[in-house]
Amino acid sequence: MPTRGKIRARAAELRAMFEAEGAQLVETNVLQPAEVLLDLYGEDIRGRAYVTSDTLRGEQMLRPDFTVPVVQMHMEHGAEPARYTYSGQVFRRQEDDASKDNEYTQVGYEVFDRENPAAADAEVFALIQSVVAPLGLRAATGDIGVLMAAVQGLETTERRKRALMRHIWRPRRFRALIDRYAGRAPVPASRAALLAHEDPLGIDVPMIGMRSRREIAARIEALREDAATPPLSAGQVEMLEALLSVRETLPFALEHLRDIAVDMPAITEAVFRIKDRMVALAERGVDVDALEFETSYGRTQMEYYDGFVFGFYAEGRPDLPPVATGGRYDALTRVLGQGREIPAVGGVIRPGVMLKLEGAL
């Protein structure tokens, strides 16, 4: 059988398994309006998705994933709770590495359920794990929600917390902000000069563009407020660093996080959610004692995950992408739901990578 046929047959098998679990089969268009994706991800999405256009509909993107259109569909007319499955091609630009596929098949399983998020997390993870089990993969898990809770709990201004939250998925920028807020990075000379100036806007320069004098003045005010804000305490920074460096098997990681939560009560709820999930995973038969947990996992992908995250990797095959990935994306449903929201979690499998590992391709 030709490669494409084999991948399609495997995708159909996986989809049938997901349907047997109660998922409804859905389809989405290959061409997606670029506006929605651009609004969600900004310009970065152009670096990883193919954009095309015509003179009537404007810019369209070849779907880089199914999650966004499936969420949109659910938010428009989905019943609750809902389970969906789908399969088809996704398209990703690969301008830095010609050996990576720019078109491949994904099979997904998504759960929209308000009742018990921990159980839904465990359901998706256990189901996907059972599918890939014969391949002997390494599972990685994490939880973006812990870091988000920690940021919310920092003893500093709302403005600083908002800036950190914006850059959760950009670890380098996040680190630079922490260094600045902690007073560890020097204030740029231009910033110091601006703050020392009594009337920085009182210069003889024409006002041009849409960003108004008032907006500039507001930012200067914000910078003054920030300069007057005491630095993040060394203790808080240390705790944040301790949090970010947690990388152990789940039960030990949980213990470690509980210790941190004693001094950082803001993460308590998030830590409880990890514990509930661990119990739910164990109930589903997952060997949680051997399951890896890493607080920073999933932070470098430009994704919408804001809670549980996971991935399955073939050890000793760094040339291959993960066989399966997934996570929780409650905030995405809020953004796309226009006032409505629903907790949601899902994952995708790449049947092509499975077949490669089995030696069938």
Binding site: E43, D44, G47, R166, P188, L201, I203, V205, M210, R219
Partner: protein
């Protein structure tokens, strides 16, 4: 068969390229009427002159339709993914220097660094309901630079010319463009971010890694580089 040399077909870039080759004993000249895009090479046998738009030279090199080409570093980096696998840099020619930079209105006294630009972008988006617009024709280079530096909440809008005017015309809030002296930026009340240098560019002689060469062409290629005093 012949070795094809692609050279910008117009203006100062063409004249300076002709001068650079001329100083090394390779005479390039346009032939026919002033409007005809035809040229001749003297000083080395078997080299054919191809007059092209500077913007198309990277593509022609990558396709292997020309063996050598003169164009800016900026255009090669913008237009060719994994550029160094497609072309080889033979020699910088010492003219056509220009910096690809990010500039904002001079009145933005609160914005001097990329960090400021990021913060201003976030506030702009919250206030105006759309992302802060940066006008450019160097989409790939600018996007990669801003992504590497963790700037979010901006969007690129295409501008193929008169880019410095876009802010005043309210079609962009900032620009990413090529500048050599900065005069046009100043005249349009713009300033360069202190860490906003994306790339230093100059006219450069490139060799295609894709263009096939037979034995005769290989000899021509070596004769040309020897005459020019550059390694290939």
């Amino acid at each position: 068969m012949t070795i094809k040399l692609g050279v910008p077909s117009k203006g100062r870039l063409m004249e300076k390229t002709f001068d650079w080759f001329g100083e090394r004993g390779v005479t390039l000249a346009r032939t026919g009427s002033e409007r005809e895009y035809a040229g001749a090479v003297e000083g080395v046998e078997g080299v054919e002159l191809v007059l092209l738009s500077a913007g198309e030279i990277p593509r022609e090199l990558a396709a292997g339709r020309i063996h050598f080409g003169v164009t800016g570093t900026d255009l090669v980096r913008e237009k060719l993914g994994l550029w160094d696998q497609q072309v080889e840099e033979i020699a910088p020619l010492g003219f056509g220097q220009a910096d690809l930079i990010i500039a904002v209105p001079k009145i933005w006294v609160d914005v001097d660094t990329l960090d400021d630009l990021d913060a201003a972008s976030a506030a702009f988006r919250a206030k105006h309901g759309f992302r802060l617009r940066i006008a450019t024709k160097y989409h790939r280079l600018v996007r990669e630079f801003l992504q590497d530096n963790g700037v979010a909440d901006y969007q690129l809008v295409d501008s193929q010319g008169a880019t410095e005017g876009t802010v005043k015309n309210l079609t962009a809030e900032a620009v990413a463009d090529i500048t050599s002296t900065g005069d046009t930026l100043r005249a349009n009340h713009l300033k360069i971010l202190s860490d906003g240098l994306i790339l230093r560019s100059q006219a450069t002689l490139w060799r295609s890694r894709r263009a096939p060469v037979d034995d005769v062409e290989k000899a021509t290629l070596e004769a040309l580089t020897a005459k020019l005093g550059v390694g290939a």
